[in-house]
């Protein structure tokens, strides 16, 4: 595919110009947080920001969406499905860990047997532009321990790498090539640029500070569903779900009907294994009786069940849950502790 170079100061202009032609999601400052938002006139995309507060999964899998609407009419019940055609769009400035999360989410939502039309429509139409981490943005990053790499191009349609004086832009898919054309006239990348990227990539990998035995704990998890260890992690948990809502790979959802007089809508909204309503049955019974079982579910889903089902760990090592858990429950520590048992 194409390999081009972009002048350092030209990138912001290119992104803003693109935003005039199609919806472009990019990291922007929003009060105290940096969030992925659709760029509008006057908004500045952040070109060198580490991990945004919210994961970009929101763009394909929003926190709440209407699946269908229904009405009571004189002729009886009427339904209106609401899968609207999504526009072609660009998701710009995604870090490699987050880009990898889309591959994991695709396993779930683009399963050979079950296709999630809501997710798929937006996912198919959106090109992902990854911004490689030439330096890991934070000490809590641990992508290399769970199958990723700070300069990985997995999940990307275009990868940008900051070479210091210019960006190297590589398209990896047809969708990416089409968007790269819209970037305007760009010079072809020379060998020096490619060599520089390789050098930066090796350096960046060495700069990762958090190394955890992510791949080693599966056998223990397989054998220890009832181990007393599970009594030790959940006690301070506030069940706020911050860890699951910010997580780029968490994908559980709930379906609720909201009815008002003669009409209603069916809503899909994020669920969280951290909430006591998770797997609560209509009878009032919940097979997961306390936060202990819920926390075990969170860890087992990521490091055991997902591995069984899709041969990948459902964690990309972005470190959000580590940084934002209000009571400092740290998944890196838990995985490390398990590996010592």
């Amino acid at each position: 595919m194409e390999k081009k170079v972009i002048k350092k100061d030209a990138l912001a202009g290119i992104v803003k110009k693109l935003a005039g032609q199609m919806p472009v999601y990019a990291p922007v400052q929003d009060q105290d947080n940096v969030l992925f938002k659709i760029l509008e006139q006057g908004m500045e995309p952040m070109l060198d920001f580490g991990n945004t507060r919210n994961a970009p999964k929101n763009c394909f899998f929003p926190q709440a969406e209407t699946m269908l609407k229904y009405f009571r009419t004189e002729r009886g019940r009427e339904l209106a499905g609401v899968v609207e055609g999504a526009p072609e769009a660009v998701l710009f400035g995604v870090r490699p860990c987050d880009a990898r999360s889309f591959i994991l989410l695709d396993y779930v939502f683009d399963d050979p047997k079950y296709k999630d039309t809501y997710y798929m429509e937006r996912r198919r139409k959106t090109a992902i532009v990854t911004l490689a981490c030439v330096h890991p943005p934070s000490t809590t990053c641990f992508c290399t321990s769970v199958g990723g790499h700070p300069m990985s191009s997995e999940g990307a349609d275009i990868v940008l790498a900051d070479l210091g004086d210019r960006y190297l832009a590589e398209s990896l898919t047809d969708k990416g090539a089409a968007i790269l054309k819209k970037f305007g006239d760009l010079a072809n990348a020379d060998d020096a640029a490619l060599a520089k990227k390789k050098e930066l990539s090796e350096k960046s990998e060495k700069e990762i500070k958090s190394i955890i035995p992510g791949n080693d704990i599966k056998p223990w998890l397989d054998a220890n569903f009832d181990n007393p260890f599970w009594d030790t992690i959940h006690k301070s948990c506030l069940a706020c779900g911050t860890c699951t809502y910010l997580c780029p790979t968490c994908h559980c959802f709930d379906i609720t009907d909201e009815v008002k007089r003669d009409g209603g809508r069916r809503i899909r909204s994020w669920d969280s294994c951290m909430s006591w309503l998770f797997t609560q049955e209509t009878s009032g019974h919940n097979p997961r009786t306390s936060q202990k079982e819920r926390w075990r579910q969170r860890l087992l889903h990521k490091f055991r069940y997902f591995v069984d089902n899709y041969h990948a760990i459902a964690c990309v090592g972005c470190g959000r849950c580590v940084q934002y858990c209000p009571v400092n429950i740290d998944i890196r520590k838990i995985v490390t502790d398990i590996s010592k048992l």
Partner: protein
């Protein structure tokens, strides 16, 4: 001997003499600016206990959690098999006030808790610290007396500790325990309680419309994770109305009015029951200004009923008691 060492010794003593089954305290966190709640059951683990200005959340919530779980576990047992559980808790001023509220509201008996009182000079607000660091990652952090130094990729900086203390702490009236079974450490000097309503006074001076707009704007930030409710020692309803589904009071999507309904209900449920520990503000991932509204209720509680939440065992929360000379003009003349 450092206060931390004395605390650890006390924990060993209480656990080995079986005076308590568990000590709820704080341990060092995995990030340089955090301490995490911890639960010590084995006297050999006492070395984990720390006490420093990174110890933020109010631990009374966990005391309630543990005792309620224990109570539930005893229900199906024969009376002669039932056991008593005693929880030891490291408690500063606001924590003890929350314990008083639990006792007043008959959540558990006084002899089910053992209060290890500690003095407090306030805790570090993670949000203020993040702002001081300009949003850069903090890779090291240390406190020496009244200065705090932190390191970011831009270098090391030193600032007054006071500049990053939580708002609740800066104007705290009860930074020393109001009740305790044992005190560890000498009482801390007072904070600046005279300024406690400065923020509320400014808010009250605004017009009704401005106040509503402020409330509505703040609530737009809220993602309804309920961390504020879950960390609050006074929010202990078994099933919160927001999660009831028969009937459903509050919708599940991200509708503004649903969020406002949740917050209004929670705030009013806090009247006379909020100790201003600041935990809800501390754990809120979105930085919602909850304190202004809670402080307004607190101010009204004091002005109308001369009541301060959890200050004294014998003074019941104003909404739980009725007296013939209660003020009532405000009902007719809002």
């Amino acid at each position: 001997m450092s206060i931390e060492k004395r605390l650890q010794e006390k924990a060993v003593e209480l656990l080995s003499e079986k005076k308590v089954d568990v000590v709820v305290g704080y341990e060092a966190g995995t990030l340089p600016y955090q301490a995490a709640p911890c639960f010590i059951e084995n006297p050999d683990d006492e070395g984990r206990l720390v006490l420093n200005p990174f110890c933020s959340v109010n631990l009374a919530k966990y005391v309630h959690d543990i005792l309620m779980a224990h109570k539930a576990s005893q229900k199906r047992m024969k009376p002669e098999q039932r056991t008593k559980k005693v929880v030891g808790v490291v408690a500063r001023g606001c924590t003890t006030r929350s314990l008083v509220i639990h006792l007043q509201e008959r959540q558990y008996e006084r002899d089910q808790i053992f209060i290890i009182g500690v003095p407090c000079r306030g805790y570090v607000s993670k949000k203020k610290l993040a702002a001081a660091a300009g949003g850069k990652e903090i890779t090291a952090c240390a406190i020496i007396n009244d200065r705090l130094s932190f390191t970011t990729p831009d270098g090391t900086k030193e600032i007054p500790l006071e500049s990053v203390l939580a708002e609740s702490c800066l104007s705290c009236r009860y930074n020393n325990p109001v009740i305790s079974d044992v005190m560890v450490g000498d009482p801390a000097p007072p904070m600046k309680p005279d300024s406690e309503y400065a923020d509320v006074d400014a808010f009250e001076a605004m017009s009704g419309e401005e106040r509503w707009n402020y409330f509505a704007e703040e609530m737009k930030k809220c993602i309804r994770c309920y961390a504020c409710r879950n960390t609050c020692p006074s929010c202990y309803c078994k099933v919160c109305f927001v999660e009831q589904s028969q009937p459903r009071w509050v919708g599940v999507s991200v509708d503004e009015s649903d969020t406002q309904a949740f917050q209004i209900m929670r705030l009013f449920h806090m009247a006379g029951r909020c100790v201003d520990c600041g935990s809800c503000v501390d754990v809120c991932p979105m930085g919602v200004d909850l304190r202004k509204f809670l402080k307004k209720l607190d101010k009204d509680g004091y002005n109308l009923f001369a009541h301060r939440a959890g200050e004294k065992m014998e003074q019941q929360p104003p909404l739980s008691v009725h007296s013939m000379d209660d003020k009532d003009e405000f009902i007719y003349e809002p």
